[in-house]
């Protein structure tokens, strides 16, 4: 009985702490500017509606802009939100797909093949993971500027690949090491080369790890801010976090729109995380016990 009470108490505390802030954001995003600036605040939206979202998504349409009769101020940057959503999606998908291909082959080689330079390769991959982003961002900016690739989706994709690959390779190596070695041996005896063993044994048996790697790569790209800030300059390549940061730092923007933009950015990653929870948790904690 006592245990039940304790668990209940701490569970409520946990839910309040973890979900409270997001619920408050969600509640604010469904209110008019006049409603969220009430003191004391409205805990729940008095007249919930998607007007803030509609306003943001139609900001590019100037005719619409005139007759909306908004209760708050939306910066001109709002017109870039839809393109940036598309950019984020594009970058995320490319990074995820390329991660899959690159990490799969590299992890197979490192986990399965006993080749010269195996250790050196493994250490190189792991070492790049501990270099701070902020230390990379200056030289990377210079390199990409010299290549004339500033403000291109491609530059972001390659950068995020380098950021995510060490981890996805690591997830897959941990998983591959759990696949019975005899299956690999059998496939080689049956006539598979390394490519065949990868295709016929490791690929079909590692779907959970692959999903985890995909999710991790996509979410990292979707959420990344610093590199995007430095490597992009216009709506042609800017991703969602950049546009939202612009909203926040522009003091004239109405809070209702800022909050709505936040909800737009939070929805895809949260949905993915909930849908693929099992795989993500397994991937994130892969190798944690072994150290």
């Amino acid at each position: 009985m006592q245990r039940k009470l304790m668990l209940g108490f701490f569970s409520v505390l946990f839910v309040l702490y973890v979900a409270g802030p997001v619920l408050w954001l969600l509640s604010s995003s469904l209110q008019q500017e006049s409603e969220i600036t009430a003191v004391p605040p409205n805990w729940l939206p008095p007249n919930p509606g998607l007007h803030n979202f509609t306003a943001i998504f139609t900001a590019g349409d100037s005719a619409e802009y005139a007759n909306r009769g908004l209760s708050g101020f939306l910066p001109s940057g709002a017109a870039n939100l839809l393109p940036s959503l598309y950019n984020s999606l594009q970058v995320g998908l490319w990074v995820a797909v390329l991660n899959l291909v690159f990490a799969l082959t590299a992890a197979y080689a490192i986990a399965v093949i006993d080749f010269r330079g195996r250790r050196a390769t493994l250490y190189t991959v792991l070492a790049t993971r501990v270099i701070p982003d902020i230390a990379l961002v200056v030289p990377l900016f210079l390199v990409i500027r010299n290549l004339g690739l500033i403000n291109s989706i491609g530059a972001l994709v390659v950068t995020y690949l380098a950021v995510t690959l060490p981890f996805t390779v690591f997830i897959l190596i941990s998983y591959f090491e759990g696949i019975p070695r005899d299956l690999y041996r059998a496939s080689r005896i049956d006539g598979c080369g390394h490519w065949g063993a990868l295709r016929h044994v490791y690929l079909p048996l590692s779907l959970p790890a692959l999903v985890a790697a995909l999710m991790f790569a996509f979410l990292t790209s979707w959420n990344e801010f610093l590199f995007a800030l430095v490597l992009t300059q216009s709506a042609a390549a800017q991703t969602l976090p950049i546009i939202i940061a612009g909203f926040v730092m522009d003091f004239t923007t109405s809070f209702s729109f800022v909050n709505a933009a936040g909800v737009i950015a939070i929805l895809p990653p949260v949905l993915l995380a909930v849908l693929f929870q099992r795989y993500i948790v397994a991937g994130l904690t892969a190798g944690a016990v072994k150290g």
């Binding site: 668990l7 701490f10 569970s11 946990f14 973890v18 802030p21 997001v22 408050w24 969220i36 600036t37 003191v39 004391p40 605040p41 690159f102 082959t105 590299a106 197979y108 080689a109 006993d114 080749f115 010269r116 390769t121 190189t124 991959v125 790049t128 501990v130 270099i131 701070p132 982003d133 902020i134 230390a135 990379l136 961002v137 200056v138 030289p139 990377l140 210079l142 390659v158 950068t159 380098a162 690959l165 390394h194 610093l226 939202i244 940061a245 909203f247 926040v248 730092m249 809070f255 909050n259 950015a265 939070i266 990653p269 949260v270 995380a273 929870q277 904690t285 944690a288 016990v289 150290g291």
Partner: protein, 294 residues
Amino acid sequence: MLARFSYDDRSAALLVLPVMAVLLVVAAFPILYSFWVSLHDIVLTRPLRRPFVGLENYWRMLGDARFHTAVLRTTVYTVVTVGVTTVLAVGVALLLNENFRGNKLLNTLLLLPWATPSIVNGLMWKWIYDPTYGLLNAVLLKLGLIEHYRAWLGDPDLTLLLISNAAIWKQMPLAALLLIVTMKAIPDDLYRAAKVDGATVVQRFVHVTLPALRPGLMLVLVYETMISIRHFDLFLIMTQGGPGDASYTLSWLIYVETFRSLRFGTGAALSYLLAMLTFLLSWLFIRAFGERNG
């Protein structure tokens, strides 16, 4: 010539080539290039003159008052964030490791902060801390803890802690997940033996759980330290280093030096100092906590 390399060697080379190419171009090369940059006086507004200055950028920064402030701010921020995150994560892991109805739902909720983009995290907390319409003021007033609304982020004594709080909210889930995995690996027999020996709940935690948690804790400490020490996003979105220099951390200094003052030489030197600090700290942690688990 090619015959000297076995089929295994040749296949492996092909299979790791894409990853190695990306990492060399986007990680290894910039790191080396960055070192070269840090040895030169490069200012973007003066693109043609970039003299070699040796380690002068490093000396100048080490003697700069802003650098000293930044080191202090970074240290406070990192210690608070890592410390509270770890303690909180141990608590959450203990809760979620129990078997009870609703446990699954809580596990799903745990991923919510983790999946939240840091920019949204920043704007969300900034909105909560808002001096006139924020949730924090409303709640504290209602509870009678404050008498009138305050500008939380404008208070230099609190800014760093409030940013830290936002970071903890986002970083705690991963730490908790890592600890839960470690806890699940503790054999049940250990707890049964302790129970038979008459150990209380607290004693079981101290003598069974904590020692077994050591590798997980080390991982969490190293990982969270590396994240916190280089963190940037929240500082830009929430305070831009202010008020005054209250949240002027190393990463913010690097950003200002490089992209506002356009002094790439000193920016690169600072990046190197931060990278070395990160390595040094993780090495110390591993030395202190890891000697028994390789």
